[in-house]
Amino acid sequence: MAMIEVTGLSKRYRDRIAVEDLTFGVPEGEILGFLGPNGAGKSTTMRILAGYLPASSGTVKVAGFDVFEEPYEVKRRIGYLPETPPLYPEMTVRGYLKFVASIKGVRRGQMAAELERVAHATGVADVLERLIQNLSKGYRQRVGVAQALLGNPPVLILDEPTEGLDPSQRAEVRQLIKGLAGQHTVILSTHILSEVTMTCERVLILNQGRMVAFDEIRNLAHALGQGDQTSLEDIFLKLTAA
């Protein structure tokens, strides 16, 4: 059974179609690259998967639970990093992570250990006592990733987790995400295609709300009549040139 099952998903805003008839599944433990140009419908799809937005039609199931029928069960199993990290600037990093951990159901007795785990994994341990408003963009992004990891959810939906990070921070977060494979199912959206090549086996490419590809990167290269040396960027440009 796929950990994430999306069937015939569409989202319309009055006369504009954001996502149209999207169907795909992600098995447990896979990291799926979720690609597309700006405005292709990636963030909308991720918001629907995370239970923030309702779909106009179609179904989304996470771990067998329908996101609309049983949102609470789905949300308990998802760690979500939106495009803009949802941070409270007036709080300290520790206070913020503590708050998120408590609403994610982390028990009081496990709180300190859980905070330590995600703080070390995301490299924010040295800024725990600082106010979020005083952090650099890179650190804010890492705090955003840290909140998604709290509670060790089996599914992670990460919308541009390396946005604003410098190359070395990006490499660290990439290693972190790679390390999640196997135990976590991850949907990873990013514009940095080299990152996807290094992290994901399969990619889903959206263009103007429609799925234009969903396969392993090398299969896509073959399907497009190009060799193994073709970069994901070439594939992406070819498929989204509409």
Binding site: G51, P86, Y88
Partner: protein, 267 residues
């Protein structure tokens, strides 16, 4: 309930980590101190007149100043009720509007938290701050009881003072409830504050505005007016109708806010 309390704690923490709460505290204490000193001066003046001419020869409305409770505290509670009307929108405006503007609403809505827990948590946090603001004003009756005196021995009639103060707390909680609902409708904090004030002020003045209306409208307006309900409580009258009225407005505001938050799932 655990989630609601976590959200309430977070709200309280944010209120006290920004200048807002302290600005509101200062404004409340500053303005109410001004009125307290004025009432005190009037009280002393009327008492002086009464000593010279006797109460019987003074206008009947001066009878209020026969004791500190009616002469100062009850009137001060009325004034603080009006100040609350101005202060509450500034405390409630950020509750949802700021979350939506900062995109943190997405965090709450994608966490395993039920909409009613979000609403209750935010309400409790907001009520905590407005009650802390109103709590500061208890200093005025305490000052009177320490330094004042009366023929009966105790300077103040504490049952009246306490009930009036409880009425104020209820009034603050009502303003906050209405303000929170308005805040859930917009991303703009200033718009939320303005609309809350625009709802609360005419509601407060409903009794006066309807004086020239015919029956039964005048009676209906009297019953629905905040000032009518508040004035009975601030005079120390335990009026069940007023209690039910304020609690109904609070509950209705919470239900409407819940509907607005729930509506996010249908957007």
């Amino acid at each position: 309930m655990r989630n609601a309390l976590a959200i309430a704690r977070k709200e309280l923490g944010i209120y006290f980590s920004t200048p807002w709460a302290y600005v509101v505290f200062t404004a409340m204490l500053g303005i109410s101190s001004f009125f307290f000193v004025n009432l005190l001066a009037t009280f002393k003046e009327v008492q002086g007149l009464a000593r010279v001419y006797g109460w019987a020869r003074l206008p009947p409305e001066y009878g209020l100043f026969k004791n500190l409770t009616d002469g100062i505290v009850v009137q001060l509670w009325d004034v603080i009720g009006v100040i609350t009307l101005f202060v509450a929108p500034f405390l409630s405006m950020r509750l949802f509007a700021e979350e939506k503007r900062n995109r943190t609403f997405e965090l709450l809505m994608t966490a395993p938290v039920r909409p009613w827990e979000i609403v209750l948590g935010k309400y409790l946090g907001g009520v905590g701050v407005i009650w802390a603001t109103l709590g500061l004003t208890i200093i005025f009756p305490i000052t009177l009881s320490l330094f004042g005196s009366s023929e009966s021995g105790t300077a103040l009639e504490w049952s009246t003072v306490t009930l009036g103060f409880a009425g104020l707390l209820l009034w603050g909680a009502t303003c906050l409830g209405v303000g929170m609902f308005v805040s859930s409708l917009t991303e703009s904090q200033m718009l939320a504050a303005f609309l809350t004030f625009a709802i609360l002020l005419p509601w407060m003045l409903l009794r006066g505005l309807a004086q020239s209306a015919d029956e039964p409208w005048r009676s209906i307006a009297n019953h629905l007016s905040f000032s009518s309900q508040l004035s009975t409580l601030s005079r120390g009258v335990l009026d069940l109708k007023a209690l039910v009225f304020f609690l109904s407005v609070i509950l209705f505001s919470l239900l409407l806010t819940h509907r607005t938050v729930e509506a996010q799932r249908w957007a």
